[in-house]
């Protein structure tokens, strides 16, 4: 019995290893150019999802036009540009910034962005002494109304596992160097509250318009893995 059990476990572990190893090799070889490099997506997913959608439409359980609208909203209407507008507005309008820090959903709604997932949003402010970093270790909670859907890396095992135990290591990986005396606050989104980092306004931007400022604000800076830089460092969206 014991032997059989051990044999079964060994076979299971070998199978798991066989499934995982080629992906790992590919991920390491491909570096940053390969999206999904750590995961295998069977090519039949297109067919599987298409046939599932047809079944649900046929049964009257979903409406194709509503599905189209859901996809369109995420691809074209919400995204980090919304968050960038919020941040830039807070930088130029101290009264707005105060409202944003006190009641983020209401202040964000002032700019026309409404809550789609997670009614409650909290804005955490970076200062010369405090750096904030947002993660969801248990799943993929993310402030959809201001940032859209999360990128793959935010939902990935490497980020979710390490952001809480080694936030400074994660920050270094993103090229963000912090002095030892800066306090790092990690926000693990375990409830229906979504966190947005209000980055520091970079020096040298004093004469810029709100629109120009918004163009500097990146998704990554609002998650807290980078800072907003001027001139912009480029790279992320």
């Amino acid at each position: 019995m014991g032997e059989t059990r051990r044999g079964f476990l060994k076979a299971a572990v070998t199978a798991a290893g066989a499934a995982a190893t080629p992906d790992l090799d590919r991920a390491q070889a491909a570096g940053q150019d390969q999206p999904h490099a750590q995961q295998t997506v069977p090519s039949d997913l297109t067919l599987r999802v298409k046939s599932l959608e047809s079944l649900l439409v046929e049964k009257g359980l979903v409406d194709r036009a509503a599905l189209d609208a859901l996809v369109d909203t995420m691809e074209h209407k919400v995204g980090p540009r919304n968050g960038a507008q919020v941040v830039a507005h807070a930088w130029v309008d101290p009264a707005y910034k105060k409202r944003l820090l006190e009641n983020a959903p209401a202040a964000i709604a002032e700019l026309g962005y409404r809550s789609g997932q997670g009614e409650h949003m909290l804005v955490v402010e970076n200062t010369p002494n405090v750096h904030n970093l947002v993660v969801c270790t248990l799943c993929s909670c993310y402030p959809w109304p201001v940032l859209g859907l999360p990128p793959v890396w935010y939902k990935s095992a490497p980020y979710r596992s390490r952001a809480v135990i080694d936030p400074r290591g994660i920050l270094r990986e993103f090229g963000t160097q912090l002095a030892e005396d800066v306090e790092v606050r990690v926000w693990d989104s375990t409830a229906e509250l979504r966190y947005i980092v209000l980055p520091e306004r970079p020096a040298g931007t004093e004469s810029m318009t709100e629109e120009q400022l918004a163009a500097l604000v990146t998704r990554d800076a609002m998650v807290g893995v980078t800072k907003v830089t001027f001139p912009p460092s480029g790279g992320n969206q």
Partner: protein
């Protein structure tokens, strides 16, 4: 559930793989499965908490192997079956059973805006009294439920300080399993990095978790 999804503090998961100019969806099927998952919830057969638990129920090997949206395909098929929206034959054949009644979509283009902007899994209820207060020292309880929970393993048994009372929310541990909303207060609790990870962690750093009354005890 002490599942592989509870990733905080795990090591050896590799470097963060960053994709420049990442698209919202990497293939059309990702957008479709995203939309199907959201639209089907309009039937209110299950909650967001149940959805989250649906992913936790995957085997660890599958969870780690599959891409994010592939997990959503797996979960939707499993839940459609489990909660009786489709039959096993329908899932396998991808054809509606002959003679099965045709429903009218719960979510249509006309109602989608209202649906998408309505509240989820949160509640405002002034009649629910908080059990703890801001600045109070608390310990995250050492519990190991086999069902859904939002108390990560890395915080269990650790002492923190409440920095904010977020108000009243549904309790995921019961709500996910159709055992009631069990409304209670949720707090932002600050845990020093050294309390969580030991003396080698930075003395300045901290992790904040949003924790329900039932996850906490006096410390």
């Amino acid at each position: 559930m002490n599942g592989v999804h509870d990733m905080g503090g795990q090591q050896n998961m590799g470097p963060v793989v960053y994709e420049k100019n990442e698209p919202v969806f990497h293939a059309p099927w990702e957008g479709r499965i995203y939309a199907l998952n959201r639209a089907i919830r309009a039937w209110r057969k299950w909650s967001l908490d149940t959805d989250r638990h649906g992913l936790e129920l995957m085997t660890p090997v599958d969870y780690l192997r599959m891409s994010y949206y592939e997990r959503w395909v797996y979960r939707l098929e499993a839940q459609l079956l489990q909660y009786g929206l489709v039959s096993k034959e329908e899932i396998e054949s991808r054809k509606a059973d002959p003679g099965s009644p045709k429903a009218n979509p719960a979510l249509t283009l006309a109602t989608s805006d209202r649906w998408l902007n309505r509240g989820i899994a949160s509640a405002h209820d002034p009649t629910v009294r908080p059990l703890f207060r801001v600045r109070q020292r608390v310990r995250a309880r050492n519990i190991n439920p086999t069902g859904h929970t939002r108390l990560p393993r890395y915080a269990r048994g650790k002492i923190g300080v409440i920095v904010r009372d977020h108000g009243v929310y549904l309790f995921p541990d019961t709500n996910a399993h159709f055992q009631g909303e069990k409304r209670q207060h949720v707090y932002s609790v600050r845990f020093a990095a050294q309390e969580l990870w030991g003396e080698h962690a930075s003395p300045r750093d901290s992790v904040h978790l949003d924790l329900w009354d039932d996850y906490l005890e006096r410390a």
